[in-house]
């Protein structure tokens, strides 16, 4: 469900695994002419669910939690490049099993207490603790003692040690090439134990952290006010004095208000209805930020339901979809896709051409598979615009090769439930729920959605696709935590995804760009409004003078 927007380059991994030496903080690049001050308004339609970093896992609270808390690792704003944050420096042992972090000194929580190594241990244990009911526990699976703790056999994670007042050591039970990314995701945010306990289960409404902002006011159902943290450990960050999130605002209404200057960032993006009008208006270049995101929209073909158990049928449908027309229906805000990974992700195969749109060939393949007259099936979709419309366009393309697909447009939660139930949903258009990576690494695009582990009751592998051979290669790739093998590892992943397409469990449809609307007075490069790891980077945006 998380829609974190992550962009990546092969560089990310390279920097992260720079030889086992101390990395000093590259700090947030000193800003040129970034004005200080200003109070801005951001709008969303739905309530902000919870600001507890161990629990919050939707695309609205994701960027807020990023700014309320700090973590050992973070990313340079607007990039997927890992940098130490709460950590001053770190070292990795040659076998990739021990990570040692030195904490930055004098960092304070907004309750005034200094951050100590025990807070890091407490926070990660809290995220893993079954009692927390956190959705992020699985990310920390490589830390030694994880299995015992999550099964309730231990009271903490034996793999996290705090030898002195400035050091945290992680011992892993297996090499994990993505571990530094894991320490940069929200679930690894550092929280003060006393504040969690004082909140008595309501920490999500009374968050205390050491990030760039603090929660000042929360009027339930109406607005949240965040003020800058004057004691933040990087001077001159953040730039704005405060941001107010107004909720209950329809995207369309938010946009009209933005044009009138009442709103600075329309958090839900630009609805299709408004996109053309705004993009053609003279103000367009001041109002619109258009960025690549790590997103693929796809149709799952359930390999456990006839006739999708037949690979020829799956390949035929891959040839039946006119992706150019679908791109036109979303007003050109996407590019046609031919493989699971988006173009900006390391491991994307530029040489791979995929299945070209070819109705005649699709029909021939269907005939070969024994479905000369086509067949009837069901296509699920969420019920928020434009998803049902895209589903209908797909439906029309399928009809052209003789496949009669009935559309079921349901609330998102019901589609997710159907996808995770064996034998339930033959086809699902992923729009509105599409996979966007939690961190910029190809492994995150495989495990839960194409790997065997996701093909379980309640899982997210809605094709119920499980190729044992590929699964082994995926596990092997993720064990290559030696930085020298980084390129080899990406190459291994590239081959995995190309081989997935030979089995055709998906129809990759398009890679959507993210289009954000901001008011004219907001400054900064597009990549801090479509930040690959944060969506909106509240630390970096600023109001022009």
């Amino acid at each position: 469900m998380l829609k974190t927007l992550l962009r990546s380059t092969a560089l990310a991994a390279a920097i992260a695994f720079a030889p086992a030496a101390a990395l000093t903080l590259a700090a947030t690049a000193p800003a040129m002419a970034q004005a200080q001050g200003g109070d801005i308004v951001v709008t969303y339609k739905d309530d902000i669910a919870t600001l507890d970093p161990a629990i919050g896992y939707d695309w609205q609270n994701w960027s807020i939690i990023k700014s309320l808390f700090s973590r050992l690792m973070d990313y340079t704003p607007g990039t997927p490049d890992l940098v130490p944050s709460l950590a001053e420096s770190f070292t990795v042992s040659p076998d990739g099993l021990t990570y040692t972090f030195k904490l930055r000194k004098g960092v304070k929580f907004s309750n005034g207490r200094e951050v100590v190594p025990a807070d890091v241990k407490y926070s990660i244990e809290r995220a893993v603790d079954p009692k927390t009911q956190g959705p992020g526990a699985g990310f920390f699976g490589a830390i030694a003692g994880f299995d015992d703790f999550s099964a309730g056999k231990a009271t903490g994670l034996s793999g996290i040690e705090t030898p002195d007042t400035e050091t945290v050591v992680f011992k892993l039970s297996r090499p994990d090439a993505t571990f530094l990314h894991v320490l940069a995701i929200n679930f690894a945010s550092v929280v003060p134990k006393e504040a969690v306990e004082a909140a008595a289960g309501d920490f999500g409404k009374k968050p205390v952290g050491s990030g760039t902002f603090v929660l000042k006011d929360w009027v339930i159902g109406q607005k949240l006010v965040f003020a800058r943290n004057p004691d933040y450990f990087v001077k001159g960050v953040p730039h704005i004095d405060s941001f107010t999130i107004e909720i209950g605002q329809e995207p369309l209404v938010a946009l009209l208000r933005l044009q009138k200057g009442e709103v600075d960032i329309a958090g839900d993006g630009i609805p299709p209805a408004k996109f053309l009008e705004i993009s053609k208006s003279p103000d367009a270049k001041d109002l619109i930020v258009d960025g690549q995101q790590l997103h693929t929209g796809y149709v799952t073909l359930n390999t456990k339901i006839k006739p999708f158990d037949n690979v020829k049928v799956r390949q035929a449908l891959n040839m039946a979809i006119n992706k150019d027309r679908l791109v036109r229906i979303v007003n050109g805000r996407a590019t046609p896709a031919n493989q699971p990974l988006p173009p900006a992700m390391p491991g994307y195969d530029t040489a791979y051409k995929g299945y070209a749109y070819d109705v005649a060939k699709a029909k021939a393949l269907l005939k070969e598979a024994g479905y000369a007259d086509g067949f009837s099936t069901v296509l699920y979709s969420t019920n928020t615009d434009p998803q049902p419309r895209i589903a209908q366009a797909i439906q029309q393309d399928l009809a052209a090769v003789g496949v009669k697909a009935e559309i079921k447009a349901l609330a998102q939660s019901n589609v997710i439930a159907a996808g995770g139930t064996e034998g339930e949903a033959p086809m699902i258009w992923s729009g509105g729920m599409a996979w966007i990576a939690d961190f910029p690494d190809p492994s995150n695009f495989y495990g839960p959605i194409l790997g065997c582990a996701g093909a379980v009751q309640g899982g997210w592998n809605w094709s119920w696709y499980c190729n044992e051979d590929l699964q082994k290669r995926a596990v092997a790739a993720d064990s290559m935590s030696d930085p020298a093998k980084s390129a080899e590892r990406i190459e291994a992943w590239k081959k995995v995804f190309v081989d997935v397409m030979a089995d055709a469990p998906w129809i990759p449809v398009f890679n959507e760009r993210r289009v954000v609307a901001k008011s004219k007075r907001m400054g900064g490069e597009p990549n801090i409004y479509v930040d690959p790891t944060r969506v909106i980077n509240y630390d970096a945006i600023f109001v022009k003078n």
């Binding site: 209805a273 053309l276 979303v330 615009d385 589903a391 209908q392 447009a409």
Partner: protein, 285 residues
């Protein structure tokens, strides 16, 4: 009620004639949709979208414009009449039948059975109707028939109350007491004396209820939990296009107008029928 008095009422009130004409028009659209519609309702016409994918305003080629997939709006509205009427008749017919059955049984057998039935009716009255419909629609995988049944489940309550009141007053009337004294069975009394008296009520509510039903269907579809695409219904046309109300207002206001005109006509005719059937109720509620 006679054809003559209906005719006189129509002449005296041209609004009623107009309402009747609208209803006839909606029925004609529903029955003759394939003949009347210029295009197939779910044909996503390539020329029906501008180059950058925007819907087209009304023109000679597309009289009421096109929708966001390039389909002809007029054709979708005509076919939508089918959906709306079908749901109106089925859902409301079911609601009236359930309502009458519950009301008559509860009113006639006023003992424990009647008490239980009416308490259940009270309970349903206290249920927030729209919430119930939304939960039911989400619970059952939506389809046209499910939507119709959901609406019926919500709408029978009012009919049941009226059926109950009328049956109670009927069963205390002298001629029924006399029949009973002469040893007539319950079934005979119900069939011969009670039900016929309820026919007018059924007709009135059958008509008035269609208006409610059409509106409820539109609201469910507007919230995205009604009739499934690509089958057009007036409500889901608005739902699909609601965010276009500014850039393509025809997509919202034409179907909205169709819903309004149809619901209004059924309400006016239903009200007129009530006046005719029970002149003492003239202009009352």
């Amino acid at each position: 009620m006679s054809a003559g008095s209906l005719l006189r009422a129509l002449v005296r009130r041209p609004v009623l004639a107009l309402a009747l004409a609208i209803i006839a028009g909606v029925f004609a659209c529903a029955l003759l949709a394939p003949l009347l519609a210029p295009y197939a309702p779910d044909d996503q016409i390539f020329d029906g979208l501008s180059l950058d994918g925007a819907p087209l305003p009304p023109s000679a080629q597309f009289l009421l414009g096109t929708d966001t997939l390039g389909r002809d709006l007029l054709s979708r509205l005509i076919y939508g009449a089918r959906t709306s009427l079908l749901i109106g008749l089925v859902a409301n017919g079911t609601a009236v039948m359930i309502g009458l059955a519950v009301g008559v049984i509860a009113g006639y057998f006023s003992g424990l059975l009647g008490g239980v039935l009416m308490r259940f009716t009270d309970l349903m009255t206290a249920f927030p109707a729209l919430l119930l419909a939304i939960v039911l629609a989400a619970l059952l995988k939506p389809s046209l028939w499910i939507v119709a049944m959901v609406i019926a489940m919500v709408n029978w309550v009012q009919v049941a109350r009226i059926g109950y009141t009328e049956t109670r007053s009927l069963s205390e009337r002298d001629f029924i007491l006399a029949e009973r004294a002469m040893g007539a069975g319950n079934l005979r009394i119900l069939a011969r004396h009670i039900l016929p008296h309820l026919v007018p009520t059924a007709i009135v509510w059958g008509t008035l209820g269609i208006a409610t039903t059409v509106l409820l269907e539109a609201t469910l579809s507007f919230l995205g939990i009604g009739v499934q695409p690509p089958q057009p219904s007036w409500g889901n046309i608005v739902f699909e296009s609601q965010s276009y109300f500014q850039s393509a207002p025809w997509l919202v206001f034409f179907p909205g107008l169709a819903i309004l005109a149809t619901a209004l006509s059924f309400n006016l005719i239903g009200d007129a029928l009530r006046d005719l059937i029970d002149p003492t109720q003239r202009g009352r509620d």
